[in-house]
């Protein structure tokens, strides 16, 4: 679906109707786009559940410039969804998108009914090496993200989506991002300090979905946030790195459906 918001064209895969009482909203990670949610988006549509996998400004098919901070992105998400007529969000985010979703849940109060945070950790530290490469050596940054972002199992393979190579799929998404997007996004993750404070202000049920082999946001890095949340649980997906939906699509599907089920 295509929308106009704040003079940008904003794209979201999926569909919804303004009469829908609740919409599943999916938010991608750094330099990614709606394609990371492709199977999930199709599934929710298959079961007639309204769903929008949004391309943040400057990502995928959306125009504009990337939002410079997590709080700014959270405010944008709440304003955008309000503007298009989504009142209640069943919200999921991956990686940077998880930080945005957490902050939005804290700021959005009762508008967020359930929250799923995939590939989440707080603080979401980004190494100087990666940050510098994202600024001036894009190919190296994409290679680091591919090698570190996928678990050992993904580098070997055996993807349940026949014939698809998960590591290359996520790398191609990075390559498609416009210049500067990865650096802006990683800088926003690195600079975000409000995770624990946000967690204390979230009232809805929260599920954190982590990969057992995630080197970028190890499962243990969600622990402090879990302790600050009122109603949280963690699901660890075996044999997965940070790119859960492409590495372990079926296990991630089941965890996400359970997390967002009414």
């Amino acid at each position: 679906m295509n929308f106009q918001f704040e003079s940008n064209d904003i794209f979201a895969a999926g569909e919804f109707d303004k009469t829908d009482s609740e919409v599943i909203v999916l938010v991608h990670g750094a330099a990614m786009d709606h394609c990371v949610w492709a199977f999930h988006t199709r599934y929710f549509r298959y079961i007639d559940q309204p769903v929008l996998a949004i391309d943040l400004p400057g990502h995928g098919r959306s125009t504009g410039t990337p939002l410079a901070s997590i709080p700014q992105a959270a405010d944008w998400l709440l304003a955008f969804t309000q503007n298009i007529g989504v009142e209640t969000l069943c919200l999921a985010g991956h990686s940077m998108g998880a930080l945005i979703a957490l902050e939005a849940a804290a700021r959005g109060g009762g508008r967020i009914s359930r929250l799923a945070l995939l590939g989440f950790g707080f603080p979401m530290a980004v190494s100087d090496l990666l940050l510098d490469a994202a600024d001036d050596d894009r190919a190296s940054a994409e290679q680091m993200m591919t090698v570190w972002g996928n678990g050992h199992g993904a580098h070997i393979g055996a993807n349940p989506v026949a014939g698809l190579r998960a590591t290359t799929f996520s790398k191609r998404l990075l390559e498609r991002a416009a210049d500067g997007v990865l650096h802006t996004d990683l800088s926003a993750c690195q600079a975000y300090e409000g995770g624990i404070e946000a967690a204390r202000n979230v009232s809805c049920p929260v599920t954190i979905i982590s990969g057992s082999d995630d080197k970028m946001t190890p499962a243990r890095n969600a622990q402090a946030t879990i302790e600050a949340l009122k109603n949280a649980r963690q699901t660890v997906i075996p044999n997965s790195g940070h790119m859960l939906s492409s590495e372990q699509p079926e296990a991630t599907h089941q965890a996400l459906v359970a997390a967002l089920a009414a």
Binding site: A38, H155, A158, A162, F169, R172, P249
Partner: protein, 431 residues
């Protein structure tokens, strides 16, 4: 610190796409000899059919054993995904049909495997798809032949049988400048000698029957998609990828799957509707070949170089076409693109014309006279009367295929034995 490395090709040849079988612990790839797969419930059945959940449905569309081969080939080519097919020709046909329908146009190198030439020159026109053939050595010729209806640029990495070497980056630049993908048939080079997707090609196609299988016991093909071509940037040319597809409830492959649009449509339409699927048994056999591909290719190319040098010095041979030789017009390009060697197929002109060629072929004892390349055993054939016999005289001339041309596929035997065999037969051919 440099960027971390991905697993290297020799490792991927053995491991990519497979982890020990979760049910049995089997280390080798099990042969899932089944047509279909049980669904746990109604939701899983429907959502797998709708590409809303992963998992197999029916072995014409995907099968766990075949999927290992597909992912391994995708890994070796650095592609986003792959589809295995019943033969190399099926792979070419599905790749074309995924990109265009009636009214489409292809610009192709004029030096092609004879079967491919048949498909493009005689069969596809019946379905409204025309091809213009151009000199593979001239990127400008590709550019000149492109029309508003062109949807694909196609060539072989090293052409069969005259071994013209494609300037992949140069032709890719031409194709991309016109908003078109470049597909290459990389059968003669294999991922061990070159990864064409890293040189700018968008789609790599292989006959797995040849060097990749290596044993000459199984037919197969594969399409590998780089996942880099941005279909939506030229959406009007590629409605199969950029418009809702009624054959899949309005699915827009490019919009929903981005870098995997082409390869998913090739599977979900190409295998579903054309049905040229690979069997699990065949995939298992070809995987045995992939595991030793790097080792075998080293021997293939070193043997080929020794044979080429022997032939070039032989008085019964008028000329040798092998890019590893300094005398080949593409030698410099080949040296840059193929530092590991220029493959193991070569051709030569024998003095004495067709009759001398017949005596040579019938006089060989180690070289098998048959229509194949890439076997572990050395092979020989006379292209003008067999593999390229359907080409008319003009097309044969344009492709450099004369009555005196003999093609060799150099195998893994001791090169001294191969040279002795050739030496005897060449001597007899001149009597």
């Amino acid at each position: 610190m440099s960027a971390p490395k991905s697993l290297r090709p020799d490792t991927l040849s053995l491991h990519a796409g497979q982890q020990p079988d979760p049910a049995t612990g089997a280390r080798a790839v099990p042969i899932y000899q089944t047509t279909s797969f049980v669904f746990s419930d109604h939701d899983e059945a429907g959502s797998r059919f709708d590409i809303a959940r992963s998992g197999h449905v029916y072995s014409r569309i995907s099968n766990p054993t075949v999927a290992v081969l597909e992912e391994r080939m995708a890994a070796l080519e650095d592609g986003v995904g792959a589809v295995a097919t019943a033969s190399g020709m099926a792979a070419i046909h599905i790749a074309i049909a995924t990109l265009m329908g009636a009214g489409g146009h292809i610009v192709a190198a004029r030096s092609l495997y004879g079967g491919t030439h048949n498909l493009l020159a005689y069969t596809l026109p019946r379905f409204g798809i025309e091809t213009t053939f151009v000199d593979p050595r001239d990127p400008a010729a590709f550019a000149s032949a492109i029309t508003d209806q062109t949807r694909l640029v196609f060539a072989e990495t090293i052409a069969n049988p005259r071994c013209e070497v494609l300037d992949i980056a140069g032709v890719a630049e031409v194709a991309h400048g016109a908003g078109l993908p470049l597909a290459v048939d990389a059968t003669l080079t294999t991922p061990h000698l070159i990864q064409p997707l890293q040189h700018g090609a968008d789609i790599a196609i292989h006959s797995l029957t040849k060097f990749i299988g290596g044993h000459g016991i199984a037919l197969g093909g594969v399409i590998v998609d780089a996942g880099r071509f941005e279909w939506e940037s030229v959406a009007s040319k590629f409605p199969t990828l950029c418009e809702p597809y009624e054959g899949f409830h309005g699915l827009d492959f490019s919009e929903e799957f981005g870098p995997a649009a082409f390869i998913l449509r090739a599977r979900r339409e190409g295998l579903r509707d054309f049905g040229a699927a690979m069997s699990a048994d065949t995939a298992s056999r070809i995987l045995q070949g992939v595991e030793t591909l790097p080792l075998r290719m080293q021997k293939h190319v070193s043997n080929a170089m020794a044979i080429a040098e022997f032939l070039e010095a032989h008085e019964a041979v008028a000329s040798v076409a092998y890019p590893g030789l300094a005398s080949h017009p593409d030698h410099d390009l080949a040296s840059r693109l193929y530092p590991r060697g220029s493959g193991a197929v070569l051709s030569f002109e024998i003095n004495g014309g067709r009759e001398a060629g017949r005596r040579l072929i019938e006089g060989l004892e180690l070289f098998s006279h048959l229509a194949n390349v890439g076997d572990a055993k050395s092979l020989v054939i006379h292209p003008a009367s067999t593999t390229h016999a359907r080409m008319d005289d003009d097309a044969l001339r344009a492709a450099g295929i004369s009555e005196s041309l003999v093609r060799l596929s150099v195998g893994l035997e001791d090169p001294a034995d191969l040279i002795a065999d050739l030496s005897r037969a060449l001597h007899r051919s001149q009597k």
